[in-house]
Symmetry: D2
Subunit: 337 residues, 4 copies
């Protein structure tokens, strides 16, 4: 099946290239990007086959897209208009951008500080983690892949809230991401010397993934992101109020185990692993316990921000959209040690 990548030059786009290069069904027929158009794919992503390496990055042009499915990996404000055109041409869309993740225009405008590029599309996309919207994806025309921090958080928190183990009250999320999350542009933030050998909180005043978490979980959320000195991986630690005194470690683990019992990419453990165990893969590992002295559930979640947090998650959902096994093309992508 022919697919196209719109926004192929950033880290998420590069990961899409790496993954699609091995996918047995999706055939990437074009790679478009604003940045680095004209360069060959092999200049951005090492280790590709010669054929793929020689393919050029083309300028973005939705009217040139001749494919059944498009992966869009564009900055906020850029995908809305492009999706409008792709939809007009009957192309189904997996959108890794932020434009269609929130249904409410005012909320979008407040968090992104700008007019929405395609307000008529708000609410038209399936929104949520693939494991939570499997059925909807089968018929979805547009899927808005959640933000990386959102996926890590919602995977752990949503089953606990939905099962009634957590009270519908404030959830505190502290998460740390590797530097690929800060983008491929060379900035003061991504200079090695400013990142290495330390860690920092950022976006103290509010990170744009917050309204997504609130929307998908249906509870108040406080989210503080951090930047760590490594390339890939998110570790999210989520503190939720217990619903009542009967909730214990076993019951939270049971709920998570049941929620993901048949999910090939989500594992539930007693002890949280390092993000390096999921590096390069579409896997998520959850752990949870109850701190009964203070009445909270503490759940942890690790994913690769480019894998389950973005490009591989996108391919998983695309698999579900087109009706093939959700693991197609996604096995054996991790690296260890």
């Amino acid at each position: 099946m022919d697919v196209v990548v719109v926004g192929a030059s950033g880290f998420v786009g590069q990961e899409l290239v790496r993954v699609l290069a091995r996918h047995p069904v999706f055939e990437p027929v074009a790679f478009q990007a604003h940045q680095r158009a004209g360069r060959r794919l092999g200049e951005l992503v090492p280790g590709l086959s010669v054929d793929l390496a020689e393919r050029p990055i083309e300028p973005i042009d939705p009217r040139a897209v001749a494919a059944e499915l498009a992966f869009c990996a564009l900055p906020h404000g850029h995908s809305g208009g492009i999706i409008r055109e792709l939809r007009a041409r009957g192309v189904r869309v997996v959108d890794l951008g932020a434009d269609l993740r929130l249904a409410d225009e005012a909320t979008w405008r407040r968090w992104y500080g700008d007019d929405h590029p395609a307000p008529e599309l708000l609410g038209s996309a399936v929104v949520g983690v693939a494991e939570h919207v499997r059925t909807e994806l089968a018929s979805a025309q547009v899927w808005a892949v959640p933000g990386c921090y959102v996926t890590a958080t919602v995977l752990a928190a949503k089953p606990l809230i939905d099962a009634g183990l957590a009270r519908r009250d404030l959830v505190v999320v502290d998460a740390i991401s590797g530097v690929t999350g800060a983008g491929s542009a060379a900035t003061e933030t991504t200079h090695f010397v400013n990142v290495a050998e330390g860690v920092r909180a950022y976006a103290l005043g509010g990170h744009r993934h917050t309204p997504e978490m609130r929307s998908l979980l249906g509870v108040p959320v406080r989210f503080t992101p951090h930047l760590g000195p490594y390339s890939r991986g998110i570790a999210a630690t989520i503190t939720l109020p217990v619903a009542d005194a009967t909730v214990d470690a076993d019951s939270v683990r049971d709920v998570l185990a049941r929620a993901y019992g048949t999910s090939p990419f989500v594992e539930v453990r007693e002890t949280p692993p390092s993000t390096r165990e999921v590096r390069g893969s579409n896997r998520a590992v959850l752990a949870a316990t109850v701190d009964d002295e203070v009445g909270v559930i503490v759940a942890t979640s690790v994913i690769d921000n480019l894998g389950k947090g973005a490009a591989q998650h996108a391919v998983q959902g695309a698999n579900l959209m087109v009706g093939v096994d959700e693991v197609l093309g996604l096995e054996g992508l991790g690296v260890w040690p």
Copy 2:
């Protein structure tokens, strides 16, 4: 003034050696340790003067201590008995261990899983961050330096709670430490390949610094620690419920600024820095804001876990105990970039 280091061979002990090597008043006359006794200081700490490098590490023997002040950096369960003997000989003690940090024996036993080595000493030490117990330190015979995570947390949270800006309800603390916090022993946990290129939560079931935080802050605390791929530094992110709707970013920063206005080692900023800015130093940098959509104060704190988190904090307090300027020997220890 003659001082002795008991427990000189671990990372905290090594940092004590590094700092005392330059202290203008404290004269380290002996270095004792269980581990590595017989080795020269220069084998553990590079860059010492020849004189200091040649000094041997002696076995621990409190009766051999001929000094006015002792720094103890020993595992829990080990310092209690030694402090008893040091006190009997009139030696004042700065204790970096856990034995005298909690006043309640049952609490200690529950968290440390063992009988307390010197229960008669419980409650006899001054406990708390130097900035908060300056007066008490002047006459203290024993000061129990808080745990590294505790110092980071309490510096930011205590003024906010004491000033009534935060409600006396659950405080959520997520913090990340560098690998020196995991000790100098070669273990699976400290193997480079298990630590590098990732981050992990640990002690999900409860970390021993939790009861210290609860005791010093006087509120319920949930604390989850994380291990990051770098050597030195703690970043703590603390979420506290606001007391009422009048509390805003300005008021929390004002309280922090007033609390530390004359403190040479604590700085209050709008934006949290990387831990690398305090690396090697006794500095702490705090930032705070109010998330009024969900009614919480979010405060952040960065310290060096071996500096303000342990050895340099110890020397700062020792300065106060003996009545010299608290900055003596502690300036210019950081490294940047």
Copy 3:
């Protein structure tokens, strides 16, 4: 085809597991190891399929091997005896250990400081980089995979020497490896704090890969290894005397390009890349120039020490031994960024 891994628990063994998990022809039927026998594979290597993750590590027993091919990844002195037994049972062997890499017993004894475990086997194995011994591998009963530093070096240097561009005189090799090269045991050397944020030379008195380089290149070699603060990857820089003044950058690149024109895993470039470009893969990237002011060729080579430097190289050669395409199971294993 049934294969067995003898020595599955170290980093090389773990990489063999990762790679064989995806190989379309080789079916790993047993995993043996001295260390960690009894543990499940999933405890060592994350992200395996459930089936593979549940497989136990068995104690080493060559008589229990029922397979056509064995991969041995054992410390020096341990594989010789096991290969003797495997050969007696008609099992072909890919040996990642050091026992059969040198043909001369006295040389082996001098560098390894011990009696050889199976001197009658010396000289019986095919020795060399897969690209250089393709023909011999087709009928080889035992292939001794070169050491990681050796493969990096010989790939770049051998074509230049064989083509007569470099004089048969002293070659200087300085190379740096990631920490997986130092083994999975927790030691002072592999403690994060001793490795991170710095680099060191080691084995100044002579590294055991030196006689392999001398033997495969047929020239005097000085080799100094270094340890760098990252997990995977070797960068080797090789300085060779030019044969005469006609040798220039173009001629050395031509020789390398011709030598590897049909090799799927070796690329020749003008500018040396970071080892991170080959991380997780079986790829090697070579670059070379001539410094005509001082009359030397400078060639560089980057590989992944666990990939082309060990386990993936082993699978490539095994592919050639059994007559399937050498790339089988080896594509798409790298991770980027």
Copy 4:
């Protein structure tokens, strides 16, 4: 004594600020820079005293310099003209730039690809490592501090060549530097994700520190630099041909030990340490052996590229220029672990 820093905003300038902040004799009265003029010092260098942190960075203006000594840390081509003006005003200069390191204009032009900015000054500066030009520094008007790689190399190699242990033939230098060596500008080269988790050779065609090494050592040199995933530190490995068969490990160590017997910053060891042992300091640690099978001396040298490789070396030499103890202000600057 009043001093000025011209070029205070790069990493070398920042390290000068850090060091001068503690110097007991040098009083920095102005900080000038092209970049970042107008910003406060505290925005660039954390942990300064309040007084120093508030000092502005001023535009570069040599006529505004009212000081006895100037430290210049400017890109090549920029310091020549400024030194001309400073000399005209009687200011002594410690130049960390490249303009006066080579005596020959043609050589300078060939390596720097440009006309020299002040050819009349060529040959007028004292050139060399402080330990090697102590006497000349006492009366020097201008000292050209060698490049970081040069200092690491020459410290180890020069005594061996001067003592006749090494033949005056090709010396091969491979060295690896931390990322501070690549400058404070955000570029593709310094993006965390391009540097972390790997190592690369660069400047294969020739690095500008090569002619300095050739000039200071008086022998042919091949030098290949590498970039490593850490912030500070250079490890240089130097392979020199032995003069004759009587040269052994003891004789080379003796020569080095004698050369630096009274030097407070240079240590000679049997085993090369990690660069992290000298991080933040002005120290150099040398090790050396003889590989008699191939007739070479292998010497290693570790320094901090910003410390002994630049700013601290500059201050050491400035101490010698003004006749105070060379260690003034340079002790206790390192950080460990």
